[in-house]
Every structure is written in structure tokens, then in C-alpha cells.
Symmetry: C2
């Protein structure tokens, strides 16, 4: 049942009859590209009649003509990760102004579900995609490139050159974390890393290694554990693995805030206090990170801006398909809260 | 630039040429409603060729024919309120299985923006709406009814009868909170209420009043303050107003978790401890409520289920427009954490 079922739709023919002109004249007036072909007087009459009769353009018929659907598909890996809501909001804010609608697809980090969503987006002929689900090597992204689909990667990038993306500067972010910890006297710093097949997990780990090197510290493989997903559970599992080695450490750099929460859980379960026994740092500064117990020291990524910039670049690409790809790295900011403290020697 | 621009689209004509039949035969085979008009053998050949050539149905042309867009519009008031992401996820889970896509619109609680979004949804001829932005008296909802638009209200209901909705049983939820507090010895219980023009704010306040009555306690107007929105800021403002009366109270019932966080902020700013000096209870059990400082006692609303049930009812309505409206109230659950404690006398 279409949304206007109970009232019959006003057609160009109805307007034409009302004004006393040919339907093709009405069509010319209502199409911005041909309006100037009709005299000002007639154009006004037609517009007035269209308004009074409650005419609404038929989006399907228009899309068939213009080959534009004015919809954008957005793929996110996990809607309940609080980091993604601000990104969608940022995208929606920009697109709404431009008359575009956003179709959201939640892939739950499942590759087949992502593929099914891209197929669905194609059937709907969306004008472009914002992809926040990319792996560093991503078949779907390669496929979109091959097909000439306008798209922008958000948050997660791939190893391809020539693909537009908007991400946070992960390496710089984690290097700021490392300087902060080193200044507090930490020398034995563990890393609870995110999946290495994702740019976020990979680059943040690179930042950790570079931060160690810069401080003249060596990386201890026992103090590294990789989670299979950016979740609280995987953060906890990784922290537990590091604790099981019984190696000394005084701080954990977690690859995102959810994983940092998992570290909180595991430390508490083992009777360790944060930050008294172990400092913990996250990444993202997701909503409410300041309300955690203890309030989480983290790296603030401008999530709203990531979404807004991705939408802007995508709109440019849709208008001008031959523009070169743009890779935007937004500068993150270290937010020091109560989960980090000086080492007590 | 439509999504398939760089490759030319496979048409019915291409398939017909490949198989050696007339295009109308191909059309009959690919339309489930007419497939039985063609012999099994030909149907198989056509389906195989369509698959091999990479044929994709043109959604616009199909929609023009079937008058179905297979999209659902979802209106949420605030994407960054963590309670709404699980609702959208619940909707998406159900709709994805049924081949529908979700268009999300964020209204930021602005009435004109909601109206603009409904207009946009109509232009796109969405098959139905899930509305999570309704006021108790809502012109847009009345308008959708008058137009015969299939829609379901989620989370927030209106005073109209005969409108389908899926909400949490707010009154029962807050009455459980009140019993819990009374059992802990609280007698002077303040209420930081949400906006009374929203069913959630109104019903939760009714639950507070009924809970007081049930315990034989009187409502003190000085211990009531209404926020203008369900936000941390408004929760803080309301708490500050109650504190300014200098009336004694030992507990605050906040109308949602964000407002409860605002109470935390204001209590801390005034040097008061939660729960030692004042117990605080929220509502929603939004993600991370267990990680707040202190972990928040709250009412768990099955948000994923609210979304999923709303989607199911909407699909039924789209299939059978003359089904009677269904108002579903899901049973909430009290989650006792560390923000409530016995009164120290």
C-alpha cells in the first residue's frame, strides 16, 4: 500500500485541465531545466495550481527520467557501537540540506550481509555510498571501484590508493597517548589491539609501536593481544590473555573505547584498580566516555565531522565524477580523564 | 551519476536476444506474478541467462508498476541518544529479511524538520513509517492517519485511539522503581520529569504519582521539576531547581538515563554523593548504563524488541491495510545497580 493510497494522486493532467493548458506545458514548468521555455504568466498559473491541488512529484517517474534517486546508502558495521550514531547524524545533516535521503544498512560485521546490502543499494540505484565497514583489503570496495560507483570510505580505509576517505589520524592519535603515558612514568605498556584487518586496528597498533620506539622502549610480544572485534567482550578477552602471561605492566593502550571498557571489566574481576594499579586509555571518545568509572582517558575523534566531510566529498563526486579521489585525515585530540595516573614506584 | 554508470545496464532485450525469445517472455518470467504463463523450460533458460548476464531489476521501473517502493521511513528524534540505535537495529533486522530498506531521518526534536521529513518520505513513496518522534498530541500523526499512510509509533505514543504503537509499559516501570526506593527506606523522593507533551515523560510521571500514592506518600510540588528535553543538560537543570528549594529529599527518579546523568553532574557539582547522600534512578537502560559512575539503577526497556515489533506490525499493516490497529506494551524490568542505596537515618 503506497503512502498516498487513500487519496488519489494529483497528476500533471489534472493540473493541465485546471489551468487550461496542455499537460506537456505543465511538465515543462515543473521541470527546472525547461521552465524558461514557458512564459512567466503561464508558469505562475501552473505553479499556483500545482500547489493548490496538492501535487507531489512522483519520485519513481522522476528518477526514471533523471537517472537520479537522490538517496545515499550508508553501511555501518554495528549500529549499537555508540561511535556510529554521530557519524550517521553528520552525514544526514549535510545530505538533508541537499535534498538527499539516507538509507542505512547495518552489516553486523558480516561480509555476506555487507554484500547483500550493496546489491540492494544497487537495485535501488542509490547515487552513492558511504562505507564505514571497509577492511584493509576489501573485495566490495574493489567491486564498487570497478563498477564506477561513487563512494567514500568513512572511519575505516583500505590499502588502495585513489579511493576517497575520511578518517581520523590514528597514528598521531595513539602517539599522543604514548607520550602522555611515558610522561606519567609508564615504561611497561600493554596493547589491546583491534582487528589487524581493519585500518583502525592496524594503524593504531602502528602508533603504539612508533610511540614505544620514540620513547626508546622495546615492544614485548607478551604485552600485545589482538581482539577479533572492536567489542567490550574482545577487549576483555585480550586483557585476560595479557594478564595470564604474568608479565609486569602498568598501562594498557586499548584500540577503542569499547575494548577499554572490556579492560575495566577484566581488571576489576582480577581485583586490580584503574588507575591505581593499571592505567587504561581508549580511542574514539564515544558518548558517555566521561561518565565511565573511572572517566576514560581517550582520543577524541570528531565523529560528527567525519560523517559530514564524507557526505560533502560524496556529493562532489556525484556532481563531478572525474574529480580526483580525496583522502582526508582529521586531527584527533587527546582527552585526559581519570583512567590514567602516574606510576607509583 | 547512478551507481551503474560505468557499465551499461543489462536489459530485458539483452536477455531476450541471448535466449532467442521475445522480450515480453523475459518480462513474464522475471515477474513472479506471471511466471506460470511461460513453460518451465523457457523459464529456466531465461533465469539462467539473466543470472549470467548480471541482470538487475530496475527498482524505479518496478516501483512504478507495483506501486511499492519497498522502503520504510524511520523518524527518530535524536540519533545521538544511545537509546535509538538499538531501536533502528531492531527495525532493520526485521525489514532486511523482508527485502525492505530503511530510510532514517533524524528530526533533532524540531517539528519543522519532522514535517519536512514526512514530505520527503511521501515524495519517495515509502510504503510505511515508523515514527519515534510523536508528541501526545501530534499533528503529523493525525495527518498520516488522514492520508491513510501505514505507520506504527515506536517508544512514544499519542492520545489517539486506533493508532498502532509499540512502547514500554512506562507506568509499571516507574512503579517498580518506586517500590524499590520505598523498600530502601526512602520517603522524600524527587522527580526529574521529562517533557509532559511526550507520552514517555507524561506516563513516567504518572507512575511516580501512583507509586507515591501506593506507599501512602504525598506528592510535594517542590520536589518536582520538568525538563524541556530528555537530555543530560535538562536533567541537570531540573535537579538544580529542586536542590534550590532546599527541601529534604533522599532520592531522585529521573525520567530517562540521560537526565539521570544530568542529576549525577549536578549532585557532584554541589558536593553531594550518589548513592550515599542521594539515590538516583534512570529509565531505558541504555548501552553503558552499567559503566556509569556509579553504575545506574534503571528500568530496562527491550529497545531491540521495540524496533523489531514495530517493524513486524508495520509489515502486517502494509500487507493488510484493514487490520485493526495494535497497541503493544512491552514489559520493562527493574535493573538494580549501585546508584540506589538504603537511607541512612
Amino acid at each position: 500500500m503506497p503512502i498516498q493510497n487513500s487519496k488519489s494522486r494529483v497528476t500533471l493532467r489534472d493540473i493541465a485541465r485546471h489551468v487550461g493548458v496542455h499537460p506537456s506545458t505543465v511538465s515543462r514548468v515543473l521541470n527546472p531545466g525547461t521552465r524558461q521555455m514557458v512564459t512567466e504568466e503561464i508558469a505562475k498559473k501552473v505553479t499556483k495550481a500545482a500547489h493548490e491541488l496538492g501535487y507531489r512529484p512522483n519520485a519513481f517517474a522522476q528518477s526514471l527520467k533523471t537517472n537520479r534517486s537522490c538517496t545515499i546508502g550508508v553501511m555501518v558495521p554495528d549500529l549499537t557501537n555508540a561511535a556510529f550514531a554521530p557519524i550517521i547524524k553528520g552525514i544526514d545533516n549535510v545530505l538533508e540540506e541537499s535534498g538527499y535521503s539516507v538509507i542505512v544498512a547495518n552489516t553486523d560485521n558480516v561480509a555476506e550481509r555487507a554484500k547483500r546490502n550493496v546489491d540492494k543499494f544497487r537495485e535501488r540505484q542509490v547515487d552513492g555510498l558511504v562505507i564505514a565497514t571497509a577492511r584493509r583489503q576489501d573485495e566490495l570496495v574493489a567491486d564498487c571501484r570497478a563498477e564506477g560507483t561513487p563512494f567514500v570510505l568513512a572511519v575505516r580505509s583500505t590499502t588502495d590508493i585513489g579511493v576517497s576517505s575520511v578518517v581520523s589520524d590514528e597514528v598521531i592519535g595513539v602517539k599522543m597517548v604514548m607520550s602522555h603515558l611515558v610522561q606519567l612514568g609508564h615504561r611497561d605498556i600493554a596493547c589491546v589491539a583491534g582487528p589487524q584487518f581493519l585500518s583502525t586496528g592496524f594503524e593504531r597498533y602502528q602508533g603504539y609501536l612508533q610511540g614505544l620506539a620514540q620513547a626508546g622502549l622495546e615492544a614485548d610480544p607478551d604485552l600485545f593481544a589482538e581482539g577479533e572485534a572492536f567489542t567490550e567482550e574482545e577487549g576483555r578477552r585480550a586483557a585476560s590473555k595479557i594478564l595470564a602471561t604474568r608479565k609486569k605492566f602498568t598501562a594498557i593502550v586499548a584500540s577503542n573505547d569499547l575494548m577499554a571498557l572490556g579492560c575495566y571489566d577484566e581488571l576489576m574481576a582480577k581485583g586490580l584498580k584503574c588507575p591505581d594499579d593499571v592505567s587504561v586509555v581508549g580511542f574514539d571518545d564515544m558518548p558517555f566516555a566521561s561518565h565511565f568509572n573511572p572517566p576514560l582517558t581517550t582520543v577524541h575523534t570528531p565523529l560528527l565531522d567525519v560523517g559530514a566531510e564524507a557526505a560533502r566529498i560524496l556529493l562532489e563526486q556525484i556532481e563531478e565524477p572525474y574529480l580526483p579521489a580525496r583522502a582526508l585525515k582529521l586531527r584527533p585530540e587527546l582527552i585526559v580523564r581519570a583512567s590514567t595516573a602516574p606510576v607509583v614506584s
